[in-house]
């Protein structure tokens, strides 16, 4: 295992300590329970919090700040946080207008957030939850744990964060969040595995000419293993199921999000974006907004995911609204 770390069990805390110093103007980091909270919390607005396992940086801690999240709760690497964290974060950001929990659809995340929400409710805080589940790699999910929440989570946090900042109430925030989730779809693939520090070895092994298609964001194997293919074929493999699932239609305006899994350089992401743009053009779908970079990652995994979000005017307005966080910033 080759990593820039000291001891595997201290990775999360030490990285949080670094974040706290690097972004002291934007965030405070609270330890035991661990959470990252926006400077000056609570604010006079709906509080928006998220959380999940660590190893997906910049998500979620990198999205805490003006116009996005009020707090983020980082668990151990790939392990959903515990209710104590979400409870403490919920209390810290509750400005009296209620708190929205943004949860990715994984059994652990859902259960831990649920327990926190119950505890917060017991303390008289109004909590609403939205669960993202945009990963089309998981088919026929009716009888299982359902689809995973992946790339859409990033877009949703920005959009609902802007709504909350603009004064939307809790019910409205929840409705917007659900609309974003309902109109977004994602799929990802990996060229290489990644290594959970405490596990010490990669989650799976791939030959030089193999890739995993339909992966999530936890270093797990994907839906299937395939021979390595050119970028344009990989782009088809990911975009096809996404487009067919919603389905996206000729004339749609979308936000096209090409996301790196952590170890893929920007030059490859822009190349993949070029392939995606070509596919969308062929289908007469307009790219109204785009995002290219490593935003929801699996440690050092090499790979890419596509997320498409069908936009409406309100979503565009909220996407364009000012945001100031460690990882996303514009308009201020």
């Amino acid at each position: 295992m080759k990593k820039l770390i000291n001891a595997p069990e201290n990775v999360v805390k030490e990285a949080l300590a670094g974040m706290a110093i690097a972004h002291a103007d934007l965030i405070d980091v609270h330890f035991d329970p661990d959470y990252i909270v926006r400077k000056g919390a609570p604010h006079n607005k709906v509080g928006v919090i998220s959380g999940g396992g660590s190893g997906h940086e910049p998500m979620h801690g990198g999205f805490v700040g003006y116009g996005m999240l009020d707090a983020a709760c980082p668990g151990a690497v790939f392990t959903s946080p515990v209710p104590d964290q979400m409870l403490a974060a919920t209390k810290a950001v509750n400005g009296g207008k209620g708190v929205l929990h943004i949860v990715k659809n994984y059994t652990g995340d859902v259960m831990n957030f649920e327990m926190a929400a119950e505890l917060a409710a017991a303390e008289g805080i109004e909590v609403a939850s939205v669960v993202t589940n945009d990963d089309v790699a998981v088919e026929n999910s009716t009888w299982t744990a359902g689809r995973r929440g992946v790339g859409v989570t990033v877009l949703l946090e920005k959009i609902v964060g802007a709504a909350a900042e603009a004064g939307a109430d809790l019910a409205t925030c929840k409705a917007i969040a659900e609309r974003v989730n309902a109109h977004g779809r994602s799929m990802g693939m990996a060229l290489t595995p990644c290594t959970v520090p405490q596990a010490g070895k990669p989650g799976f092994e791939l030959a030089e000419d193999e890739m995993e298609v339909g992966i999530g964001i936890h270093g797990e194997p994907g839906r299937r293993r395939e021979k390595l293919a050119p970028a344009r074929d990989i782009a088809e493999m990911l975009a096809g199921p996404i487009l067919d699932d919603l389905p996206f239609q000729s004339g749609d305006a979308v936000l096209a999000f090409v996301n790196g899994m952590g170890g893929t350089p920007l030059i490859e992401l822009y190349l993949m974006y070029n392939e995606l743009a070509r596919i969308l053009k062929d289908r007469n779908i307009t790219i109204a907004r785009s995002l290219v970079g490593n935003y929801i990652t699996s440690l050092e995994m090499a790979g890419v995911s596509f997320t498409l979000l069908r936009l409406d005017d309100e979503m565009i307005k909220l996407w364009d609204a000012p945001v100031h966080t460690p990882a996303l910033r514009w308009g201020m």
Partner: protein, 215 residues
């Protein structure tokens, strides 16, 4: 000799040791069909439980078990944290204010634990989860006691059934938790949560057997 708080403490200590010893195995099982954290998760949780035990050593069994569950909820995370946490909390609620427990109480506690896991996780038997170890364990326990076996023998039978149940998850298609995302590829691997449940039952069997040997 009835089961006392000391026995419960002994059980939890044995459980922590077994989990720690099998930490890498549990993580490897989770790497195959999950996210490679189950060993580290439970090891962290049980280490926290052991650290907390002295603060409740003079309390009743229910309090010890509830504290165990709450500690697990607060330190494990992931799916197994709320599931095992709820299991211990429910078992503790079933034994509230009790300082001793009989064979029947052990059954009651395990039933409450299973109910808690199912209430939280909604898994049916056959979906490749810890439920597939706990359900046969409970059946074996009830059957052995009905057949007149001692508690020690009966819990040993339950532990064996849990282990068999864990192994029986190998050919199953996962329908719950993270392994379900793998679809068909989840087949052929043993479920990590069922495996850790089998270790917990083994720790319980060790405690109950020792109790009988001492008697």
């Amino acid at each position: 000799m009835p089961i006392t708080v000391e026995h419960v403490t002994h059980f939890l200590t044995a459980a922590a040791e077994l989990i720690h010893a099998h930490r890498d195995e549990l993580t490897s099982l989770d790497a195959a069909i999950g996210d490679a954290d189950h060993g580290a998760n439970l090891d962290r949780g049980f280490a926290a439980v052991i650290a907390r035990l002295p603060t409740v050593a003079d309390k009743d069994i229910g309090t010890v078990l509830k504290t165990t569950g709450m500690t697990i909820v607060s330190t494990v995370g992931g799916a197994s944290g709320p599931l095992y946490g709820t299991a211990f909390v429910r078992a503790g609620m079933a034994l509230a204010d009790r300082h001793e427990m009989s064979a029947e109480d052990v059954v009651l506690a395990l039933e409450a634990a299973l109910d808690g896991i199912v209430a939280r996780g909604k898994a049916q038997p056959g979906e490749k989860t810890m439920v597939d170890a706990l359900v046969p364990a409970l059946e074996a326990l009830r059957a052995a006691l009905a057949a007149g076996r001692s508690l020690g023998r009966a819990v040993q039978a339950a532990a064996a059934a849990a282990e068999a149940g864990a192994q029986a998850t190998i050919p199953m298609l996962a329908m719950k938790g993270r392994a379900s995302y793998l679809g068909e590829r989840s087949i052929g691997h043993q479920d990590p949560g069922a495996t850790s449940t089998a270790y917990l039952l083994r720790a319980l069997a060790m405690t109950c057997s020792r109790n009988e040997e001492e008697a």
